[in-house]
């Protein structure tokens, strides 16, 4: 063995570990970047106003900084998306795992993954150019930009997030549980919904939380199709603006670095980050807490 081999091994381990630690630095960097500018922002704008004002007009002369305005846009589009993706995604999961023959399951699964692989600008295009005009024919009074149109298309994109993970969760339930139910004379439908789904509930819940997090963080679909008009409303037929779309709007504009207007994107970004971080942490916690059940 050549001398110095041992040092060589240690050096390699050091560099590999360094690469892994970049992930930690990334998280720290995100937090620092968002916090630094946000703190500076909150020196000029009171936190109370930030949370209670119902208008968001930082780029106008009469400035209001009510985050709930953007928040309502985000939540509205996300809610519509989940309202579409949840029933469809869950039904797909149950159907594929309990009813469909193996061949069908194998062919369909990658096709569904395709839905998530399409770039979101393409979905944005659909929403604006195809879906909105179509909906306008059946819903008179629908604006050309609306959370409904964006939400529906987002929902389609999110279907595999729910269907894939839920299906894995259902698949992991031991067959013996189903056998017990069938043995008592239940139909597939009863077994699926009374026995198998509850047994897989933690996995299903995790999939839903992750889908919500994905919807909240979506940018291009809502930027293109939901509007750039901050509006504190629950009406799905009018233009709104989401947190993500606002950040894009400012990035495209001529807002100078260092100005209050510029700092708003970090305050908004921080809010966005907190939301998705909480959701992801909760889902991670649930996944770990209930993981031991079948091992």
């Amino acid at each position: 063995m050549k001398p110095g081999k041992k040092t060589g091994e240690k050096i390699i381990e050091f560099f590999l570990g360094g690469s892994a630690s970049i992930t930690v630095f990334t998280t720290l960097a995100i937090i620092v970047v968002l916090l630094v500018e946000s703190v500076s922002f909150f020196r000029e704008v009171s936190i109370i106003d930030f949370f209670t004002d119902t208008q968001w007009t930082p780029l106008f002369t009469d400035k209001h900084f009510g985050i709930v305005t953007l928040l309502s846009g985000t939540l509205l589009t996300s809610f519509i998306a989940i309202a579409i993706a949840l029933p469809i995604g869950l039904s797909i999961a149950v159907f594929l795992s309990e009813y469909a023959p193996k061949k069908l399951r194998q062919t369909v699964k990658p096709m569904l993954e395709l839905l998530a692989a399409v770039p979101t600008v393409v979905y944005g295009f659909f929403a604006l150019i195809v879906v909105t005009p179509f909906l306008q024919t059946i819903i008179p009074g629908l604006s050309s930009f609306s959370s409904l149109s964006a939400g529906i298309v987002m929902g389609i994109m999110i279907i595999p997030y729910i269907s894939s993970l839920s299906e894995d969760a259902l698949f992991a339930v031991p067959y013996s549980l189903r056998e017990a139910s069938y043995g008592m004379g239940s139909t597939k439908f009863q077994t699926a919904f009374r026995v198998t789904m509850p047994a897989a509930s933690s996995g299903i819940v995790v999939s839903i939380i992750l889908a919500i997090s994905r919807a909240i963080g979506e940018t291009m679909i809502v930027t293109i199709a939901a509007g750039q008009h901050p509006n504190f409303t629950a009406n799905p037929l009018v233009p709104i603006e989401t947190m993500t779309a606002y950040i894009v709007q400012v990035s495209l504009g001529d807002v100078q670095h260092g100005t209050l207007e510029y700092k708003t994107i970090f305050a908004v970004g921080l809010t966005l980050f907190v939301f998705t971080f909480l959701l992801n942490t909760i889902s991670h916690w649930i996944k770990n807490k209930y993981r031991e059940e079948y091992e």
């Binding site: 063995m1 050549k2 081999k5 381990e13």
Partner: protein, 290 residues
């Protein structure tokens, strides 16, 4: 016990040459020669060797000698510690976090647990063949050349020579000579195991450890490998763990019977199987318990 072992097995680098009860003595000529003088023919000696998984004593205080160029079989019921004992000689047990060794084990006159050694060198000198054939997912040639490559051998001609020599030694040459670039996984089970033996031989160890080498193979492959082991005795010292007593009877010079971590009896194979000294041995070999 198997579950515990597999769960705990992690290929952490315990550090070259580190051992739990390291006296830190660097291997020096004087201590090696002292050992050699005391026990000239013994290529392996254990003195009060005990092995633990956490608190569980897997091997209890075994002292035994193994002669050079012999074949020693280790027999005993499942879980008696034979694999653990075997793996101590090339320190493969180090990969299990909770493994601990006390006592002395001398391999080629070096105390492998207490002296400062290079583990990689130990493993080149003490080769191992595993129960389930585990050829690398590479060509036949690359499998056998692997041990030489990691030692730094680059000369193509030399490599080819050593590879051919090793493959010939295991009697596989006629079967694979036309295409050494074939994927090793395309060979049959018996051929794969012979290939694994070949790659060990290529590195020219002095000792070969075999952990139930034929238990996953068919009778014909088993017979071929048993013949091979008998031939290898001329150049190598072989330790073989086996649960097949007939095999032990067929090929080994000495046999050690282990039971629950204790060395019950250790004698020439002929004596142990025809006139065992202890009742437990007799009960085991007559099949009263397994």
């Amino acid at each position: 016990m198997e579950d515990l072992k597999t769960k705990q097995m992690r290929f952490e680098d315990k550090g070259v040459g580190k051992s739990k009860n390291n006296k830190g003595n660097v291997v020096d000529e004087k201590s090696v020669n002292e050992e050699k003088e005391k026990h000239p023919e013994m290529i392996i000696r254990t003195e009060n060797s005990s092995m633990y998984y956490g608190d569980f004593p897997a091997i209890k205080n075994i002292s035994m000698d193994i002669k050079k160029n012999s074949i020693t079989a280790f027999i005993g019921p499942s879980g008696c510690g034979k694999s653990t004992f075997l793996r101590a000689f090339n320190r493969m047990n180090d990969f299990i976090d909770i493994f601990k060794h006390t006592g002395n084990i001398y391999v080629n006159n070096v105390d492998i647990y207490n002296d400062k050694i290079q583990i990689e060198q130990l493993r080149r000198d003490v080769g191992m063949v595993f129960q389930k054939p585990n050829p690398f997912p590479k060509t036949i040639f690359d499998n056998v050349a692997y041990g030489l490559k990691i030692q730094g051998m680059k000369d193509k001609n030399l490599l080819e020579e050593r590879v051919k020599d090793a493959i010939q030694q295991v009697g596989l040459w006629s079967e694979v000579r036309d295409d050494l670039k074939r994927n090793a996984l395309s060979l049959s089970g018996g051929q794969q195991q012979r290939l694994c033996i070949a790659r060990t031989l290529a590195v020219k160890p002095s000792i070969i450890l075999m952990d139930e080498p034929t238990s996953a193979l068919d009778p014909i492959s088993t017979a071929k490998i048993e013949d091979l082991i008998t031939q290898l005795k001329e150049e190598y010292t072989i330790l073989i763990v086996t649960h097949n007593m007939q095999q032990a009877g067929r090929i080994s010079d000495s046999t050690a019977f282990l039971y629950m971590g204790d060395l019950i009896e250790y004698d020439t194979t002929h004596k142990l199987f025809t006139k065992p000294k202890f009742e437990k041995t007799e009960n085991y070999i007559t099949g009263r318990f397994g």
